[in-house]
């Protein structure tokens, strides 16, 4: 996943490029597509908007581009109010979902399109377009029409076209959605490298959490028009602030329970299947209903009963999902609850004790879980 935000990044002075102030978009007077969203994007950042379909992320992006007028709220770019500026006057360019390359124009003309509208001198346009073509490694195909290119090449033309005018802000709408999985992985890094080389600030919209994690430096998880959580990818993954976020990002096992001991250095939660011992204090009160969330990769399977009072359950393997590099085991507990455990396949053994129907113990350490109160 993404590299940890290093110290340099955090200590460098953050200059706010884009500020969105309680922006709302209400359709037909009732449907809240975007509901009172505020955010800031710093210069040089790739900001990811992550959410399922219909969560309002695309509407938010389209308001930034100027294609939708906000019902309420303001958008500031470099401190300047651009809320009511039409799209063609905003120093913002967008890379469209499935690209929207002009079918009647060649690759070269597509990239030059925006520059020509600015009345740039011809030789400067030629120079800029050639530079863009070599940046996206398409120097060989300036005369081709979009439909003569592969999906990956079209994606690169779209990127070159949206970068050609050197926008202050680049909007990426599901930039890799139209590519197949293998190509997507290589293109992700390529795209980030190009964006970092150019140094443009980005807002990225995606429904793919892996895409958001790999590409974005900060992520906003969106649902029903508002932000559930905004943070670094590892924050959103490891310290989700709600059940909804924990559930949306990655796989998670949820244990419902009641707080029993509430000490400054530890907490215990009585769940149906086990007693959870959490190795740090949280703000809660005894008797409070909470959810304890544990990621599948933080649980270990064993054949023997763990020598511990807390944090283990017993069950039967009812399903094995083999991915090659790792496997996910579905463990049916005595209470009937099914949990997922992910283990890396470190050996080349084809048979092992973890088979269908096998009895197994799952345990985890006291820092593996997060207690969610909302």
């Amino acid at each position: 996943m993404a590299t940890a935000p290093n110290d340099e990044k955090q200590s460098a002075p953050k200059e706010v490029l884009l500020r969105v102030d309680s922006l709302s978009k209400i359709y037909d007077g009732a449907v809240k597509a975007v509901d009172d969203v505020s955010l800031t994007v710093n210069r040089g950042e790739i900001f990811g908007l992550l959410g399922g379909s219909g969560c309002g992320k695309s509407t938010l992006l389209r308001m930034l581009a100027g294609f939708e007028t906000p019902t309420k709220g303001k958008i500031f770019l470099e401190g300047q109010d651009i809320t009511n500026l039409p799209p063609h006057q905003r120093p913002i360019n967008m890379m469209f979902q499935s690209y929207a390359l002009f079918p009647h124009l060649s690759v070269w003309e597509n990239i030059a399109f925006g520059l020509k509208r600015d009345g740039m001198p011809k030789d400067e346009i030629a120079e800029r377009v050639d530079k863009m073509l070599s940046l996206v490694q398409l120097g060989k195909y300036p005369k081709r029409k979009p439909h003569q290119l592969s999906g990956g090449q079209q994606q690169r033309v779209a990127l070159a076209r949206s970068l050609a005018k050197r926008p202050k802000l680049l909007l990426l709408d599901e930039p890799l959605g139209a590519l197949d999985k293998k190509l997507r992985e290589t293109t992700q890094l390529e795209l980030v490298n190009i964006i970092e080389e150019v140094g443009v600030t980005c807002v990225l919209v995606t429904h793919d959490q892996e895409e958001a994690m790999t590409m974005a430096s900060r992520i906003a998880v969106m649902s029903e028009g508002y932000f559930l959580q905004v943070g670094f990818p590892e924050e959103v993954y490891e310290i989700p602030n709600s059940r909804q976020v924990a559930d949306f990002i990655g796989n998670v096992n949820m244990f419902e329970g009641v707080i029993d001991e509430d000490e400054p250095d530890h907490v215990t939660v009585n769940c149906e299947d086990c007693i959870q011992y959490v190795g740090h204090g949280i703000s809660c009160s005894p008797g409070q209903l909470v959810s304890v969330a544990i990621r599948p990769e933080k649980i270990l399977l064993s054949q023997t009963k763990p020598d511990d009072k807390y944090n283990w359950v017993e069950g039967e393997i009812i399903e094995i999902v083999y991915f090659g590099a790792n496997s996910t085991y579905h463990l049916k507990l005595t209470s009937g609850k099914v949990i997922k455990v992910q283990e890396i396949n470190t050996t080349r053994e084809l048979t092992c004790w973890r088979t269908w129907g096998a009895k197994a113990y799952a345990h985890w350490n006291d820092m593996a879980m997060i207690v969610l109160t909302q």
Partner: protein
């Protein structure tokens, strides 16, 4: 294996059967009649019918081709003038239909989805009344003591009636009025399919809406413009009824010449020759255009 191969054979017969239907239609109703017209154009007119092209009188088949009609057409300035004038009026009609039809189709395609079927109906509505009736209606509007002149005179805007009838003005009005739907329908079909994301992309790259129309919408609707222009231009060249009813002595059109040759002069070979030349005049530019388009389409795939 056997089953699948027999299935393929049956399938091919079926395919052949389906394909042959339009070919049969084309051969019977287009190719053969054109060949008959071609044959008549190279025959001589006898008392009640045209001469036979093949003569068996000496035991040998003797083919007689008579090119006199074609020579006459080529030699007579009136025919050439008429052809040119037909093409001119058809061309003006096409341009006017495009100028009026394009915005019409554009706004129709942009109007709310639930209104579009109704607008489409309104385009078709005139077809429900007889074509002749509608052309006659224009006559009553345009003549010197017609509706328009009477209104203008009673409002004291003009003193003497405007001459709007039996000249190129009335002819073009009638032609544009009659052929407009044939321009709008293919344009509408094309424009309603236009992907709005292209316009958004153009706006995003700094194009004003007006410029985006010329740089994106118009080039992308090229196929609709060509189809609509063909549908208007081709029948307009050979139009007979409108010039007969609304045209005047100055508005020569080939359709009237054809009528005269057939029914006044009873000269079938001459009439056929006039028709053949007209077909060539329309067909040759179309074939060139078609070839150019096919080449473009070929370079695409």
């Amino acid at each position: 294996m056997n089953e699948s191969s027999s299935y393929v054979r049956h399938f091919n017969w079926g395919k052949l059967g389906v394909i042959s239907v339009p070919y049969f239609w084309f051969v019977m109703l287009a190719l053969i009649p054109i060949l008959i017209v071609l044959k008549i154009s190279m025959s001589e007119m006898e008392l009640t019918s045209v001469s036979n092209m093949v003569d068996w009188s000496n035991g040998w088949p003797t083919v007689k081709l008579n090119f006199s009609s074609y020579l006459f057409i080529g030699g007579d300035a009136l025919y050439i003038k008429t052809y040119l004038s037909s093409i001119k009026y058809a061309f003006i009609t096409t341009l006017l239909c495009l100028a009026i039809g394009y915005p019409f189709a554009y706004f129709m395609a942009r109007s709310p989805k639930h209104l579009q079927p109704m607008l489409l109906m309104l385009i078709m509505l005139p077809f429900w009344t007889s074509f002749l009736l509608r052309i006659y209606a224009w006559k009553t509007l345009l003549v010197s003591n017609g509706v328009i002149n009477n209104i203008l005179i009673s409002l004291h805007i003009i003193d003497t009636p405007l001459l709007m009838m039996n000249n190129s003005f009335s002819l073009i009005i009638g032609m544009v009025y009659s052929y407009l739907p044939f321009m709008i329908l293919p344009l509408y079909a094309n424009l309603s399919k236009l992907d709005m994301r292209y316009l958004e992309a153009a706006a995003d790259l700094g194009t004003s809406p007006f410029k985006a129309f010329w740089l994106i919408t118009v080039p992308l609707s090229k196929a609709g413009i060509i189809a609509g222009s063909m549908l208007v231009f081709i029948p307009a060249v050979g139009e007979y009824v409108i010039p007969e009813l609304l045209g005047g002595p100055s508005t020569l059109m080939i359709g009237r010449v054809l009528w005269d040759e057939f029914f006044s002069n009873n000269d079938w070979p001459m009439a056929s020759a006039v028709a053949v030349v007209m077909i060539l005049l329309i067909l040759v530019p179309m074939a060139i255009l078609n070839k150019y388009q096919a080449e473009q389409a070929g370079s695409k795939s």
